[in-house]
C-alpha cells in the first residue's frame, strides 16, 4: 500500500512577511521581508546576497553552547539548539544561503541587538555584549563581511530585513526607526 502525503514545501509562494521566532531563523527571497521582534540581549544576524536575491535572519540567544553550563543532552536527532547559539547559528545560516544560490564572498552581514537592559546580581554578566562579540567573531571566521551594526544600549529592538535590498530596519519602543 502506497501512502500519499502532501508535499508542503511547494504549497504556495513565499509570503511577504516571514516571522522569525526566538532561537530560530528563516530564509527569504527578493520581495519578502524577514521580521523578528523583541531583541533584548539576544542578537539578530542578518545576511544577504543582494545579487542572488536571497537573505537570511537568525535570532540567537546566547554566544556559544560550549561556554554555557552543560545541559542535559537533547534527545532529538537534529540538534534543536543550533539557532539558540551565535556560534552555531552563523555557519548554519551561511550554509543555508549558499545552498540557496548565495556566493559567500558577496554576502553582506548586519547585526543588531545585544543590549544590556538590566544588570542582574545572579548573572555572569553582559550576555548582550558577549553575543555581539561572538557574532563578529563567527562572521569573520566564516568569511562574511560585516558592513554595519546597531548594538548595545539599554533598550530593546525589533527588526525588519528586506531581502531585496539587504536593508535592516531597527525599531525601538521610542524613537526613530534606524536603517542600516
Amino acid at each position: 500500500m502506497k501512502v500519499y502525503t502532501t508535499d508542503r514545501s511547494n504549497d504556495r509562494s513565499e509570503p511577504e512577511r516571514i516571522k522569525v521566532g526566538v532561537a530560530d531563523y528563516a530564509i527569504a527571497h527578493a520581495g519578502s521581508t524577514l521580521v523578528t521582534s523583541g531583541l533584548g540581549s539576544c542578537v539578530g544576524i542578518a545576511l544577504a546576497d543582494v545579487e542572488a536575491g536571497v537573505a537570511g535572519l537568525a535570532h540567537a540567544m546566547l554566544p556559544s553552547a560550549g561556554a554555557e553550563t552543560k545541559r542535559e543532552a537533547a534527545e532529538d536527532d537534529v540538534h534543536p539548539d543550533t539557532w539558540k547559539y551565535v556560534d552555531t547559528a552563523v555557519p548554519e545560516l551561511v550554509r543555508e544561503l549558499t545552498d540557496d544560490g548565495a556566493e559567500r564572498s558577496r554576502i553582506e552581514g548586519r547585526i543588531a541587538g545585544g543590549s544590556a537592559m538590566f544588570e542582574f546580581e545572579s548573572s555572569a554578566g553582559a550576555v548582550g555584549e558577549r553575543n555581539v562579540a561572538a557574532a563578529r567573531e563567527a562572521l569573520g571566521a566564516n568569511g562574511i563581511t560585516l558592513i554595519d551594526s546597531d548594538v548595545g544600549g539599554d533598550y530593546g529592538r525589533s527588526l525588519a530585513f528586506d531581502a531585496e535590498t539587504g536593508e535592516l530596519s531597527i525599531r525601538r519602543a521610542h524613537g526613530e526607526t534606524h536603517v542600516i
Binding site: M1, K2, V3, Y4, T5, T6, D7
Partner: protein, 122 residues
C-alpha cells in the same frame, strides 16, 4: 481514462471537495456518509475506485474496506483520512486498502493514487 468513483466521508465539506477535485478527470457516481452506506452503495454501483474516510459514525472506514474487499477482492479502495499514524496504516493494509492518502491532500495526490491503484489504461 475516467473512472467511476464512490466517495465515502462523513463530512459534506470533504465530499464536496473531492467531487470538485475529481470532476475533470473522473466521475463521482455515489457518495456515502458512513461505512454501512459505503458497502450498500458499493454493491449497487460497483465503482472502479472507492475513496474511504476512516473515522466515521455508525461504521468506520477500516471495517467497510474489509467488507468491500470480501465482496469483491478486485475492488480498489483508497483510504483518505486525517489520521496518519503508523499503526492505523498497518490496520488499513490488513483490511486490504490499496492506497492511503493523508488529509489535507492535493489534487495531484488523489489523481496519482487513482491511476496507481486502477491503472492508467482501460
Amino acid at each position: 481514462m475516467a473512472r467511476s468513483v464512490l466517495v465515502v466521508d462523513d463530512s459534506a465539506f470533504m465530499r464536496n471537495l473531492l467531487k470538485q477535485l475529481l470532476e475533470d478527470d473522473h466521475e463521482v457516481v455515489g457518495e456515502a456518509e458512513n461505512g454501512v452506506e459505503a458497502v450498500e452503495l458499493y454493491r449497487e454501483l460497483d465503482p472502479d475506485v472507492v475513496t474511504m474516510d476512516v473515522v466515521m459514525p455508525i461504521r468506520n472506514g477500516i471495517e467497510a474496506t474489509s467488507e468491500i474487499k470480501s465482496i469483491d477482492p478486485d475492488s480498489s479502495v483508497i483510504m483518505c483520512t486525517s489520521v496518519g499514524q503508523e499503526e492505523k496504516m498497518r490496520e488499513a493494509v490488513e483490511a486490504g486498502a490499496d492506497g492511503y492518502i493523508t488529509k489535507p491532500f492535493q489534487k495531484p495526490n488523489v489523481l496519482e493514487a487513482i491511476d496507481d491503484v486502477v491503472g492508467v489504461e482501460a
